[in-house]
């Protein structure tokens, strides 16, 4: 397993390296001159030229890219056009709330989705089965931002149960996490259901039942454990979608996360901030999908056994 895991880690490093090229090229693909933007409208031509030399923008692309990588390795993500301070200062306080929202949404979706998936697989063709199918279809049809707005309309404006905007307490987290988790919830429920339906008629489940094990043990220890692998894999893939749609959710609920910072930075043309954020999103995304792949490898005895044989 160590060899396969090592290969997967190497692949992640290569992907991240490619992402740094995209982030670097982004600043050059944007229309407009970075030196001119940073110097401001009142700067003279000489000032702009001096700044261009100081920033190294007069050097060839490969030299600029090498310097960009070097700065990255020293933790320097660039300087904001807007605040003129390091972008890291704006990013750091928003990392926590963003991860909190994404993790809350995916945890909610995973726990409820898997529970509903197992429940409907045990009782197929009942009202609950039909309800879960409908909810999972709605999950992929209802736009995240509209679901958020409708929740605000009902929960905050009509019934006054939950706060509309902002962060700080668990009440603030309920609506954003539900909004963001709704789409993956439906898909996780549907996948768990179909995986369980494949596992349940197997001989080893019948054997487990026949030797008198309690139904709960049969379902959780024998059936779910075997159905879990593709589900965990899928939850990992969903994390990328959740990270993306977190941007929309954060905008709807004025959640102080990285997504809103990204939208605001694009609109105000604070491109160094955008550059740093896309790299950070790639880092989080690649990091999580690698981690999930490693977990799946560890969970799969066929791969895990390979390590005991080789060592």
């Amino acid at each position: 397993m160590a060899r396969i895991a090592g290969g997967r880690l190497a692949q992640a490093v290569v992907t991240l390296f490619l992402a740094t090229i995209v982030a670097f090229l982004f600043l050059h693909a944007i229309p407009g001159d970075p030196a001119l933007t940073l110097a401001g409208d009142s700067a003279s031509q000489a000032d702009v030229e001096a700044l261009r030399r100081q920033l190294g923008l007069d050097r060839p692309y490969y030299v600029q890219y090498a310097r960009y990588l070097e700065r990255l390795l020293h933790g320097d993500l660039g300087q904001s056009y807007k605040t003129k301070s390091p972008v890291v200062d704006a990013i750091r306080p928003r990392l926590g709330p963003s991860l909190q929202l994404a993790v809350a949404a995916i945890t909610f979706a995973a726990i409820l989705g898997m529970t509903l998936g197992v429940a409907t697989a045990l009782r197929p063709a009942t009202w609950m089965d039909a309800a879960v199918s409908t909810v999972s279809l709605l999950g992929v049809t209802v736009p995240t931002f509209w679901l958020g707005l409708m929740l605000i309309l009902l929960m905050s404006v009509e019934w006054r149960l939950l706060p509309t905007f902002g962060a700080g307490s668990w009440q603030h987290l309920v609506m954003p996490a539900f909004t963001l988790g709704a789409a993956p919830l439906g898909m996780i429920a549907r996948l768990t259901r179909s995986e369980m339906l494949e596992v349940l008629p197997q001989e080893y489940i019948r054997a487990a039942r026949a030797k008198g094990l309690p139904p709960r043990t049969v379902v959780v220890k024998h059936a779910l454990r075997n159905a879990l692998l593709p589900v965990v894999n899928f939850i990992g893939l969903q994390f990328g979608i959740v990270l993306g749609y977190a941007v929309v959710t954060e905008t709807v609920f004025a959640w102080p996360g990285l997504g809103r910072l990204l939208v605001d930075s694009i609109i105000t043309r604070d491109y160094p901030m955008v550059q740093a954020l896309i790299l950070l999103f790639a880092l989080i995304f690649v990091g999580i999908s690698t981690l999930v792949d490693l977990i799946v490898m560890w969970m799969d005895p066929r791969i895990r056994e390979a390590s005991t044989q080789s060592t």
């Binding site: 049809t141 736009p143 905008t251 999103f281 995304f285």
Partner: protein, 282 residues
């Protein structure tokens, strides 16, 4: 050209296929002839009629600039469907073409093309669309380009895998041994055989593409006001959530209806033409 009638005939055998075709057909009719039937201009402001409730003259009321909401929704259908078509066809042609080349030629072509696709996949999907939107700028066409590039990886990966399977088939080997050129093999033998899988995924992707385009406009990075795009209408409706909730309800229902139609249709098309794709996408 036989694919379309065959696909339609098989798709209507499924109830969800019939419902999907009916919904999508309704939106298409609204998009094509609807704007001719409504007496209101969707962008012209009439401040004397702002935020009116539903009435006979304005069946869904008016917005903050006195514009008829129903007229704006109908014009919005034309914009959303237009963006979705341009974006998904861009993704299909570029992604499908690149995947076909990667799958057919293998080796260096495969490595280079699929690494490029991996670069696109190293960003969370919506973030990728946002970044492209930031580069190309706002506006109807630019949203279509951003969402089109966002769709490239799905088509590239699928087309590569299917091409790899087709190129091992006897008729391709026979054509090659008879001296057919690569271009001829790709055009006459590979393309017709991967077209079914690609068109199934294309139908399924339409729903996603509509949601992504509307999300970009909602965030202020896509279609800009006063153009009557549903996502952008929802974005401006946020300020009037208390006083005129209808402003936020109707455009959302319009999006849900259209994506629901395409999802049902996509599911039926997949079951009718290529059930093996079940679970691969959507």
């Amino acid at each position: 050209m036989t694919l379309l009638p065959m696909g339609l005939r098989r798709t209507v055998k499924f109830p969800k296929g019939r419902v999907g075709i009916a919904i999508v057909g309704l939106y298409l009719v609204a998009a094509i002839i609807g704007p001719m039937l409504t007496p209101y201009n969707p962008v012209q402001q009439r401040m004397s009629e702002y935020l009116q409730p539903a009435s006979w003259t304005h069946p869904l009321g008016t917005d903050e600039f006195g514009r008829d909401i129903l007229a704006r929704l109908i014009h919005g259908a034309r914009i959303s469907i237009g963006i979705a078509l341009v974006a998904s066809i861009t993704g299909l042609v570029i992604g499908g073409g690149l995947g076909m080349l990667a799958g057919y030629y293998g080796r260096a072509a495969d490595t280079i093309i699929m690494r490029l696709v991996d670069v696109l996949l190293s960003f969370p999907s919506l973030i990728l669309a946002m970044v492209i939107a930031a580069i190309v700028g706002a506006g109807v066409w630019n949203v279509a380009i951003a969402v089109g590039v966002y769709s490239i990886p799905v088509f590239a990966r699928l087309s590569r895998v299917v091409t790899q399977q087709v190129k091992m088939r006897d008729f391709v080997i026979a054509a090659r041994s008879l001296g057919a050129s690569d271009w001829r093999i790709l055009r006459l033998h590979v393309l017709p055989n991967i077209a079914v899988s690609l068109s199934v995924v294309w139908t399924i992707r339409m729903g996603f593409v509509i949601l992504v385009a509307a999300s970009l406009s909602f965030l202020g990075l896509g279609v800009q006001p006063p153009v009557p795009e549903w996502g952008s209408m929802l974005s401006s409706a946020r300020e009037f959530l208390r006083s005129s909730p209808g402003l936020a309800v109707y455009p959302g229902l319009a999006i849900v209806g259209l994506t629901l139609g395409f999802n049902l249709l996509g599911d039926a098309v997949r079951d009718a033409l290529d059930p093996r794709l079940r679970g691969v996408i959507g």
